[in-house]
Each structure stands twice: as structure tokens, then as C-alpha cells.
């Protein structure tokens, strides 16, 4: 087991990233705030996947790389694996975590559970609570995109919380 820190340290950083970018620098521009938060996640995912794949042979196809994210990568970051993986076999993968750690301690306005995919900053500008949660999800979305990008797979990642406390990450691989 490598070095560890208290989970509060990571959660505190995540809270501060979101509040600095959403309430401070880009209070009126949620799209820009979202992009910055995603970029921070991307950087983290990129570096983590570099470290976690150091001693592995190259992945031969997309599915293998996605499975690595679901199992090894998720276990390192969240101490559990992704619970459910679906794909349409045409480049879209849905990774569901039945109890996503970074949402498990957030209070959620039940009215947004019907909102479905909340990765649209302009749509969620109306609803502050939805916006706050959506902003927190840009970070893990960035992590996944960064990790896959480091494995040579360019993609877009969004999150779906219509099923709380489960959270699904939708990965669309760019052809």
C-alpha cells in the first residue's frame, strides 16, 4: 500500500476548486468555470493513468482500455470498481457507479433527479443546486477523459445522475 492521506483532503480540494471557479473567477460564466474544472480533472487523469499503466503492455482495443478504467483505475481512485458497464459497440460506453463517492456526502435537491443529464451549463444555470452538483461532476469527467486520452483514446465524457446515488459516466469515443 502506498502513501495515503485522509479523504477529507481530496474532498476539500474538490470543494475549493468548484467554489473558486464558480463563485470567484467565473461567477457569471458557468461554461468557462466548467471548462477549467474539467481541465484540472483532465490533468489529474492523464498523470494517474500514466502511473497506473507503467508496467502494463499496451491495450489492444478500446474495450480493454475501458475495462482498465472500470477495474484498476477506479479501484485506485475510489477503492471500488465500476458496478456496471454497457456499450452500444459503436464507441459509446456507459460506466455506472452505484454509489459514487464524491456525491455520497452531498445534499441533493430531489427535483433535479428528473433532470437527467446535467452536463449542460446553460440549462442548469436556472437551478443552483443542479449547477453545484454538475460542477462537481466536471472534475471526475475530466479525470476519465484525461486517463483515456493518455491511453491514446480521444473521447468526450459526460455524467448522468438521474439515478442517484448512482452516477453514470457516458464516454463517447471520437472516431
Amino acid at each position: 500500500m502506498g502513501r495515503e492521506v485522509s479523504e477529507s483532503c481530496v474532498e476539500s480540494l474538490l470543494t475549493e476548486i468548484v467554489s473558486s471557479y464558480c463563485n470567484g473567477f467565473y461567477a457569471d460564466k458557468p461554461e468557462l468555470a466548467a471548462r477549467r474544472i474539467e481541465a484540472i480533472g483532465f490533468q489529474v487523469g492523464h498523470q494517474l493513468s500514466e502511473r497506473y499503466t507503467m508496467d502494463r503492455p499496451r491495450f489492444t482495443d478500446h474495450l480493454e482500455a475501458i475495462k482498465f478504467i472500470c477495474k484498476d483505475f477506479w479501484s485506485e481512485v475510489f477503492k471500488k470498481q465500476i458496478d456496471n458497464l454497457k456499450t452500444n459497440h459503436r464507441g459509446t460506453f456507459v460506466l455506472q457507479d452505484n454509489r459514487f463517492r464524491w456525491l455520497s456526502r452531498m445534499s441533493v435537491d430531489p427535483s433535479i433527479e428528473t433532470l437527467g443529464s446535467i452536463q449542460d451549463p446553460s440549462a442548469m444555470a436556472e437551478n443552483k443546486a443542479a449547477q453545484a452538483i454538475g460542477m462537481h461532476l466536471y472534475f471526475p469527467c475530466g479525470i476519465i477523459r484525461g486517463a483515456l486520452s493518455n491511453l491514446g483514446i480521444p473521447c468526450a465524457v459526460s455524467a448522468d445522475i438521474s439515478n442517484l446515488p448512482a452516477c453514470s459516466f457516458v464516454i463517447r469515443i471520437k472516431a
Partner: protein, 186 residues
């Protein structure tokens, strides 16, 4: 009822939820990097990191008090020891040595030989004025302010700047008297 006994930093750290430190270290690094891009001026980044730390400190003090069972410290010397041995340990998994006390007992230094914030970090020449660990000074300042101590917390030595160790100076500026009795109905 059993008496409430203060718990050691090791005991608390063993019982809290922990995550792999790489995630923490790399996340912090990515934040600093993004702030450098967005704020451009190194001084502004230093200020922002300190502010983020302060915001974290004023929240973490609650977790610290709830989990440590530490009672009121008799003086600032005890406070510094508790930060070094319990506070740092329960969150970062490391301890510090308290040294360099002034005669009044209001200024001292925490020496950190191990600092998970800086694993993998090297500063490029363009960031020479950066206090990379400024978040930590902010956390300490914020946490102490919540227990009625106004402090000034500054980095005197920084291994990223070529020093042999990390030295964080704590200076007690003012002990804010608690207003008592509290008025519940306001």
C-alpha cells in the same frame, strides 16, 4: 460514562477514510497549474492558494475537534504541538517538529521533513516567486481563527526553493476573547 480521552494522531489517522495520496498530490498540482494559467501573476496565485486553504481550514477544524477529543490548549505552545502531532497527522499522515520559539512563546516554527503536497513537484524558473504550499498555511490560519486565535502563518523555508526542509512559521497575533454568554436568540 467513560472519560473523553484525547486521541493520538496515529490512532485517528488509522480510523479515518483514506485515499491514495497520489490522487491528492496530483489534484493539488493540477490546481496550482490551472491557477498559474488563469491568474498569470505568481503573487495572485499565492494569494488564491492561501484563500483556498483558509476556506478549507475553517471547515476542517470541526472534523478535527470532533475526531480528536482534544480539549482546550493551555497555551500557544500546546496548540502548536497539537497541530504538529495530531492535526497534520490526521489529515496528511505526516507529523512536524515544533521549534524556534521566541521568548514570549507566541512565535514558533513547524518543521516538516515529509510533505505529501510536493511529491513529484519541481518548480520551473518561471515560478520562482511561487509559494507552492501556501494552501497549507491558509488551512492552519483558518483553523486557528475558528478557535479564537488570529495568527500569521508564513513559509520561511521551502524545499522547492532549495532549502533543506519545510519551515512554517506560526505567529500568534491576538487571542480573541470569546463572547460569553452567547445570545441564542439573535
Amino acid at each position: 460514562m467513560a472519560p473523553v480521552v484525547p486521541r493520538s494522531g496515529d490512532a485517528i489517522f488509522a480510523n479515518v477514510e483514506r485515499v491514495n495520496a497520489e490522487l491528492f498530490t496530483l489534484t493539488y498540482g493540477a490546481i496550482v497549474r490551472q491557477l498559474l494559467t488563469d491568474l498569470e501573476e505568481v503573487d495572485e496565485v499565492n494569494k488564491q492558494l492561501d484563500q483556498m486553504g483558509y476556506n478549507i481550514g475553517i471547515r476542517l477544524i470541526d472534523e478535527f475537534l470532533a475526531k480528536s477529543n482534544v480539549s482546550r490548549c493551555v497555551d500557544f505552545k500546546e496548540t502548536a504541538e497539537v497541530i504538529a502531532k495530531v492535526g497534520l497527522k490526521m489529515f496528511l499522515g505526516v507529523t512536524a517538529t515544533v521549534t524556534n520559539w521566541d521568548v514570549e512563546g507566541t512565535t514558533c516554527s513547524l518543521i516538516l521533513e515529509d510533505n505529501p503536497l510536493v511529491d513529484f513537484v519541481e518548480l520551473p524558473d518561471t515560478c520562482q516567486g511561487l509559494y507552492y504550499c501556501n494552501i497549507l498555511s491558509g488551512v492552519v490560519r483558518g483553523a486557528l481563527e475558528m478557535v479564537s486565535m488570529k495568527t500569521e502563518v508564513t513559509w520561511l523555508c521551502d524545499m522547492l526553493r532549495g532549502d533543506d526542509t519545510f519551515e512554517l512559521q506560526l505567529k500568534l497575533l491576538k487571542q480573541v476573547p470569546e463572547e460569553y454568554p452567547y445570545k441564542d436568540d439573535e
